[in-house]
Structures are given as C-alpha cells and as structure tokens.
Amino acid sequence: MDLAVVVVIQILYAVASLALISIGLAIIFGMMGVINFAHGEFLMMGGYAFILSYNAGVNFWIAMLVVAPVTIAVIGVVVERLIIRHLYGRVIETVLATWGLSLFLIGLAATVLGYHQKGVNPPFGTIRIGAYQEGGYTFFVIFVTLALMAALYVGFKYTRWGLIARGTMQNAQMASGIGVNVDRVYATTFGIGAALSGLAGAILAPIAGVLPEIGVTYVVKAFITVIGGGAVALAGTGAASSLFGAVSQAVTFLSRPVVGEVALLVVAIVLLRLLPLGITGRYFRRGL
C-alpha cells in the first residue's frame, strides 16, 4: 500500500517535470510555429539566474519564482528581436540560428561560470510514507506545475491578451487587418515561453543542479514531448507528458531508469507512427 502511494507520487512527479520542461517550448512552437533549439539553454540560464541570485543573497523563493523567469523573459524578447523575427516562416533557418545560439550560450556559460556543477539543497525536507520517505520538494514541483498549467489555461482562455494571441495564431494576417500589432503579440508570446523555460530551469535546479550543458539533457525530452503532443500547446503538453512520464516512470520501477528512458522513446516512436501530427493532431484539437 505504501509502495503504491510512492509509485503514484513518483509517476505524478515524472509527468509534472516533463510538462514543466516542455511547456515553454510548446507555447513558442504551438502559437508561433517557431522551433527553438536553444530551449535547453533557456532552462540552463533560468537555473543559473536562480542559483546565482540566491547565492548573492536574494530570498530563495523570489530568486526562483521571480528573478529566473523575468531574466529569461528579457533574454527571450531580445532573442526574438535580434534573431527570430527575421526568420518567421523559415523553419530550417530558425532551427540553424537557434542551434547556433544554443552552442553560443553553452560556451558563454562555460567561459563565465566554469564547468563545475552548482546547486542548492531543496527545501521542505522529507515526508514519511509508511516505510518509505519522499522529498517534500517533489510535491512542490507537482503542485507548481498544476498551478502553472491552470494559470496558462485561464490566461489564454479568458484574458484580453489570450484572446488576441489565439486569434493571431489562427490567422496572423487577418489579425493585423483588424488592428492587432502582430509583431508585439509574437514578441510577448516568445517572452512568455522563455519565462516559462527559465522558471522550469530554476524549479528543477535544486534537484538536477546546473551545468553549462544541462540544457542538452532537458531539450531532448522536451522536444519528444512537444512533438508527441502536437500543435495544441497546453492540451498537447498535458497529454504527452502524462503518457510519456507515466510509461517511463512505471518501467523505471519495474526495472532500471535507463530502461525507463528507452521505454519513453519507444512509446514516442510508436505514437508518432500512429499519430504523425501528435496527440492533438487527432484528439483535443479544439483544446488550448
């Protein structure tokens, strides 16, 4: 019984962390059709923004929940202005440019901050579940991810900005023809995606630590989740991370973590063979 509870919590955590690292990429891809290969480095920079400002004396929660997303949002808006804006509608060029950006950011972080891993201890200690114990921070990650998804849903569905962003995503030229400043909507959307990535990097930093190349470990899973989810950002990320997270974590329990990762890849390949446009290519098409 206790083991079952722990397994469920671990699966929820796997799902939540997958959704967390993917949602920023999913919004930028789903809303703007832009593939951001520097996504992993946005997470990496979020982690550094958190740890460096925390070490400099900023309050733990402000460093994590405010400094990290705001810093990466600003970087995202600059990147959109300098690089992405000139490449809208040109997928290959965007991939190459953001890949170059990714390499540049890794090199920059390594030069400035060095290669040793930085980390902080997760707060909340541990919680006892029968004979087992679970880190309190695990619950925090699950809770924050749920809150974030709910906030995004409300933001896109019910706010003025969300309505304009959804319409612009469906037909940018027509949006311009009824008075929408499309450049500004794209810059804001990219900034929000970047902020979410920075926040995710900060939230996972106490668990995973931060290194200049940590983005590489995030980006593969994030891409698999976003491609598996399809073009509908929120529903797609939710569905794909539930599927992939549950499968990989369940298999991890039955054997080893490596096999769990393999299982994730196998499920992703089978899924894309059956649903080439991802889960939301067939289901939840009307979702957000």
Binding site: L163, Q170, M174, S176, G177, I178, G179, V180
Partner: protein, 237 residues
C-alpha cells in the same frame, strides 16, 4: 477621405497594380468592378497595408499612410473585410467580435453590443465556432467583426462571392442601412453587377491593374454595358 496616387504593388515579383489613382470623398460608396486577376484583391490589401506599395501614395484623412502597418491604419479608422471572410475558425462568434473590438479599441468592448444591435442574426450564433457557420453567416460575421473596430471607411472585398442570393440581398440591405446610420464611407470591389449597382454612388472599372473608366451606377442595368463588362473577361458575372 481617401486619396490614392500612382499606386503600384506586386505579388512577390509579379507586378499587379500599375498606377492606381483614386479619390474617395467622405460618405461616398464607390464600387470597383473587375474580373478575376485584374488586381481587385491586391488593391484592397495594399490599401489596408497587408501588401506593401512599391510606388505611389495612399493618404487617409490627409495623412500619408503608405508605409504604415495595417494595424495602425485600422486604428486610424480604416476597416477591412477580406475576400473569403477569413473568420478565425476556432474562435467563437463572440470571440471573433471581441477580438476585433479589443485589438482596435483597447479595453473598450462596447462596440460589440452596438454591432450586435445592427446584426441581430448573429445573436443566436454567439457561442458557435467560426468554422461552424455557413458561408453567408461568415460573411455577415466578417462585416460585423470589421465594424467592431469602429471604422469610418469600409474596404469590402467581394462580399457576395459564393453566398446564396437571399443572403446577398440581406447583406446589401444591411450595408445600405449602416451607411445611413453610421455615415460610413465604402469602397467595394465586386464582380456582381446588381449588388454593386444597388450599393454604389459611383462605379469604376478596374482592368489589368489600372482604373480604366467610370460608369454611372444606373448604367449597370443597361444591357449594352453588361454585355461589354461580360465581354471584357471570362464572362463570370
């Protein structure tokens, strides 16, 4: 109100408009007739700013807007109803209207209620998705959406295309009533002679990217003119 001089525009590298001159006074309703491929849609897109002008100028209310973005022109009071309606397919009817009001007018949504009073036909459809509407309903929604931006000048691109005759008639009546009640200035490009004749105070003929002549609206009922217009192109009227 609208002054166009020597306007040229291209679609990619192919030049489409070869120097359009056009002057529209406030309160006028000008119909521009032309067959497919004569540059009607390019003219409308260039006027609103979705296709860049390669030469010439566009002035609205005496202000040169030739290089302005479309959304700036919309906020100045130019309204655009595109060919093919271009309704946001996965927004509800209400959201289509609200989006236009919010985009053009900031947080002020009162335009939506005013427009619904003019188009009661949309009331029962408010919660439907744009893509679930019939062609005629979408056309009415496209016009209503444009009005939510509170335009003073209405640019209408073939509003009768692919719409059943009874709704064409209704749209014509709606537009005539709106012209009167809101003091709208209208520029209409069309292939439909009857619709154009009924709505326009002045009719121009566009051919191969140029305005070639003016016609009195009454003449559109003249068999000889009809014959001539039909004979100009492929004969789709």
């Amino acid at each position: 109100m609208l002054e166009v001089n020597g306007l040229r525009a291209a679609y990619g590298r192919i030049p489409i408009l070869h120097g359009i001159d056009l002057e529209i006074a406030a309160g006028e309703a000008v119909g521009i007739l032309g067959h497919n491929g004569m540059g009607k849609t390019t003219l409308m897109k260039t006027l609103i700013g979705l296709v860049p002008a390669t030469d010439g100028s566009i002035a609205f209310d005496g202000v040169d807007v030739t290089r302005e973005r479309a959304d700036r022109r919309v906020r100045r009071g130019m309204g655009y109803v595109p060919q093919g309606r271009e309704i946001f397919p996965r927004l509800s009817v209400r959201e289509n209207l609200r989006m236009a009001a919010l985009a053009a007018g900031g947080s002020d949504e009162s335009a939506v209620d005013e427009v619904l009073a003019d188009f009661p036909r949309l009331e029962p459809l408010l919660d439907r998705e744009g893509s679930a509407l019939s062609g005629g309903e979408q056309q009415i929604l496209a016009i209503a959406r444009c009005l939510c931006t509170r335009p003073r000048l209405l640019l209408l691109d073939e509003p009768t295309e692919g719409i059943q005759p009874s709704i064409v008639e209704q749209i014509g009546e709606n537009l005539a009533a709106l012209r009167a009640s809101r003091g709208l200035t209208v520029v209409l490009v069309e292939q439909n002679l009857d619709f154009t004749a009924a709505l326009s105070s002045r009719v121009l003929l566009i051919q191969k990217g140029e305005i070639v002549r003016a016609l009195p609206p009454e003449s559109l009922r003249d068999p000889e003119i009809i014959e001539e217009f039909v004979g100009v192109g492929a004969g789709t009227v």
